[in-house]
Amino acid sequence: MALKGNLKDVSLNQLLNLIYLAHKTGALTLQRDSNTTARLYFKEGKLIQAAMDGQSARLTDILVQVGKLTADQAKAIRARAQVDTDKELGLLMIQNNVLSQADIIQGVKNYLLESVYTLFTWHQGTFRFDPNVLPPPERITVAVNLDHLIIEGSRRVQEWEHLRDELPDLDVPLKFAERPDINIRSINLSVEQWKVISFINSRNTIRQIANFLKMDEFQIRRIVYGLQTAGLVDVMPATTPPGGGPPVPLPPPAPPPVGRNVLLRVIDRIRKI
């Protein structure tokens, strides 16, 4: 019989604890809203596979997401490989010295962990645990101990609460801080931080940027808080109504200046008015 309930009443940490202690096998489905679902598979109390709505769980896509392959490499591998399952694809990559077995397992494991960490920020929604349901056999599975995951999950929940206190409103835009004392040269930004920075202007709210970059609230709060702490950005008062519309990119470069001659003619004329 399936276990069902609401995440408001039973947290993910409590669910994982239950699965861990009871050595359960089965699929845990979490639904935050009608569009956002995640499914975690467990075998004898260990996490073995995760699938998130809107994200491909194909091996090549997973390895791109965790940085083991580039998008071009993944595309080339998919085009050349005449195989159907992830297990066959993994074997092919090992035989062709694209990646080692350890690389693939570590990549899948990292993907699993990051997927579950994201779920710790879900504080509402429903859950359902179907016993003895296992992932499709063609998928590569790894076994992740839940005890470390639960500890890390608790830490992330605390971090989440701290970030939410520091940055309570996501429906506000960001601006670049005007602090001449900041030494920009000594600051190294991550790719994700650069992505957020490229959308900073007075018309894009933090939430719009997150939606466009497909980041959840935890990720965007952490990035913005990091940029704030580094003294690079400030939160502006809300100027646009909250909404999920696409953010506006940075302004286009200035139009080509009119010729110097034209400007001098205008200046000369105005002086004579």
């Binding site: 601006k175 940075l250 009119v258 004329r269």
Partner: protein, 184 residues
């Protein structure tokens, strides 16, 4: 005929229409309507679409001045008016500090439209309550290199000075642009 365009923006009742009216050679094309809300206590009419003024430079060139509506509910017009501008002026009523935050918001918004030069006109400097331009610069949180100029929008000489300063900034920026290859 070639035309160049500058935009005059700023909060409600900061003096944009007066600024354009002081220098335009044609009667300013105004789109003002009688105010019906609480802001009526400040002035009777306000710009709802734009003001338009013109200065003929010579037989081949004209300068157009566009004033934006100041009330927030008409801000959808701002981006339309800012297209292709050479530079812009942010008018600030120096005697009404309660509008400074709004002026800063307008400036930030315009800077997102286009990376064109601008100056701040610290208007109503003839008002005894007016903040000096340097204090206004601090109050608005502007960088040191932003030019905040004293202004009395009803006086032509004052308006000329502001326009000329903006043109000098544009000229400086134009000088910093890499040289275009000479056409053959």
């Amino acid at each position: 005929m070639q035309t160049v365009k500058m935009v005059v923006t700023g909060p409600f009742n900061s003096g944009k229409t007066a600024f354009i009216g002081s220098i335009s050679e044609i009667p300013v094309v105004r789109t003002e309507r009688r105010i019906t809300d609480h802001t009526r206590s400040i002035k009777e009419q306000t710009t709802v679409a734009m003001d338009f003024g013109r200065i003929t430079i010579d037989k081949d060139l004209a300068l157009y001045l566009f004033g934006t509506p100041g009330q927030k509910r008409f801000d959808f017009m701002w981006e339309i008016l800012s297209e292709g501008m050479l530079g812009f002026i942010v008018m600030v009523d120096s005697a009404r500090p309660e509008t400074f935050r709004e002026a800063r918001r307008i400036l930030d918004t315009f800077r997102t439209y286009s990376n064109t030069p601008f100056v701040i006109a610290a208007n109503k400097q003839d008002d005894e309550d007016a903040w000096p331009p340097e204090d206004l610069k601090i109050a608005l949180g502007l960088d040191q290199d932003v030019r905040v100029l004293p202004c009395i929008a009803t006086q032509k000489e004052s308006v000329k000075s502001v326009l000329l300063e903006l043109l000098y900034v544009i000229l400086e920026n134009a000088a910093e642009e890499p040289a275009h290859p000479r056409r053959r």
